[in-house]
Amino acid sequence: MKKILEIKNLSKTFYDNKKQVALSDISFTLDEGEVVCLVGPSGSGKSTLLRCIAGLEATDKGGIVFLGKSNPLEDIKKSVSFVFQDYNLWPHKTVLENITFAPVKRKKMSIVEAEKLAISLLKRFDLYDKKDSYPDFLSGGQKQRVAIIRALAMQPKLLLLDEITSALDPELISSVLNLIKILAKEGQSMIVVTHHLKFATEIADRIIFLDGGKMIQEASARDFIYAQNNPRIEDYLQMFSLNKQEINIYEGADQFQAFQLGTLKRFKEGSSKCVVGSSGDRWFEAMGDFYKTYEEERIKRKISWRMIMYSESQRDHDLRLRCPELNVYKLIPKNFENPANYYVIEDVVVIQIFGEPGDEPAVIEIKNKDVAKSYMNYFNLLWEQSTLIV
């Protein structure tokens, strides 16, 4: 994949009242079509980093290589668009004028051409009827979508989004996030500063965690959320869940797989996963090719499966024979059958939903000691009544 952006040992210090190091020694790269999310506590330097990339702040040390050029200010101005937290639409221009102005002035598009592009974007994102409105008459969500469309109208090679949902009411956030998800799927390269961790996991190829101006971690979205081993970041992640208990829902095959692989890394070596309601091969299908990775990791870390099943599938059968010490299965009568199955591992209950063949799988994760205990009791009850498969 073509590399479009490379940040090398970038540092930035502000000297407003007193010396304040905003960024120190930041390095990472971004490939074409990739989405990187910058997360971290307030004041960690995320926005400053984004502003440095956009050329809004001068850097002290280190360099930015964009499209292979080490002095890229002109190219950045031409090919990088920035969307601000507080929209910054131009109040004296209509929605349509806001969108067409820069393409006409900067890209030398004809007005007709620019309006055609703007109208197609507005129609696509459901804002066509607002084209002649002034920004003051739009809701926050609409304003931010217009601001994103305005940035897209420049057909940027790289889109920078700076906490674009922070100024929005909760019910307006999803409309903006959905737009970004569509862009991510289409392969728009983006660097996104966000506090929405769930959103970050859905769109990011990689997540970079900043704290005090330093890069603490750069990880795949999956490892960052599900297999976090840095105590500082765990604390940060914890802040986004109330108390110690937490309920998360992950939908779709990608997230299903990421969740399974991530949680496996999180659990202690030698722990045991107790599954109720396994039948057929739906779990293996939902895991796709990652099933083998999962198995290798599981065997390496000696995590055992204790399963109560309605019928043993061929793959389960193979697995049990391959590693009898890690796979203990019991059979339970068909009239106990449930549409969803669940498993308990340590203090976590995971409900897995597969739906009809061809449906997208989903998981509901419940982190709660008491709930896990009651599910375990039910598991033990069934376990006693079941017959061992040999």
Binding site: G55, L56, F84, N88, P91, H92, A102, K107, D136, F137
Partner: protein
């Protein structure tokens, strides 16, 4: 008991009219040149080049501090000695009043531009517009709306300031009045009429100010 005699006004009506026209003409020229010069000074005041903004700042502070009367007299009598050029009284008045107005316009302009959030500027830059394009198409239209009420106030003020030009014998309304008065000895009638003429000149300006303000507000409300 003083006997009012308004015949003198009728008798000299064309002289009054001429004086009023000179006042108006002088004001229009001063408003035109003063505004352009003021915006240029204001732009220089905001430029990034080292030291240049300081020069603009000194210009603004100096010409806001000097009384216009002193400037007029100084420019009319001293400038020829230093520069070797003698300007006509009318031209002197245009230059001095324009410079004075420009200092106030520059300051109003600076305040108006600074009232526009910084990120309006940044939004232009990040969409690839140049600094000049951003200034002229994004910041200025918004700034002008903010500065318009103040600006129109300055213009009305400047219309009244033209009366100071009478000291260097510019034939504006006040100068005409004092000439008539010195030959007819009817100062009360004459200066009363002058006061009314100023009122007639200023009121349309005030009406225009509030009309433009209303219109500007309405335009942005259009959906």
């Amino acid at each position: 008991m003083y006997q009012w005699d308004w015949n003198v006004v009728v008798q000299y009506k064309y002289v009054f009219l001429q004086g009023a026209l000179v006042t108006l003409w002088l004001t229009l020229l001063v408003v035109f040149f003063g505004t352009i010069l003021g915006i240029i000074v204001g732009l220089i005041r905001r430029s990034n080049v080292p030291f240049i903004p300081t020069i603009a700042k000194i210009y603004i502070e100096l010409f806001r501090a000097f009384p216009i009367l002193i400037l007029l007299i100084w420019f009319y009598y001293v400038a020829p000695i230093i520069l070797g050029i003698q300007f006509s009284p009318f031209l002197t008045a245009v230059i001095v009043l324009s410079i004075s107005l420009s200092a106030f316009v520059a300051e109003t302009f600076r305040a108006a531009v600074e009232s526009i959030p910084k990120n309006q500027f940044e939004s232009g830059i990040t969409l690839g517009l140049s600094q000049m394009q951003t200034m002229f198409y994004i910041i200025l239209p918004q700034a002008v709306k903010n500065m318009l009420p103040n600006l129109l106030g300055l213009y009305v003020e400047q219309l009244k300031n033209t009366s100071l030009a009478s000291v260097i014998a510019v034939g504006e309304i006040l100068h005409q009045a004092s000439t008539i008065s010195s030959t007819t000895y009817r100062p009360l009638e004459i200066y009363s009429v002058v006061a009314v003429i100023y009122l007639i000149l200023v009121i349309p300006f005030s009406l225009l100010t509030s009309w433009i303000e209303k219109r500007m507000n309405r335009k942005m409300r259009k959906v």
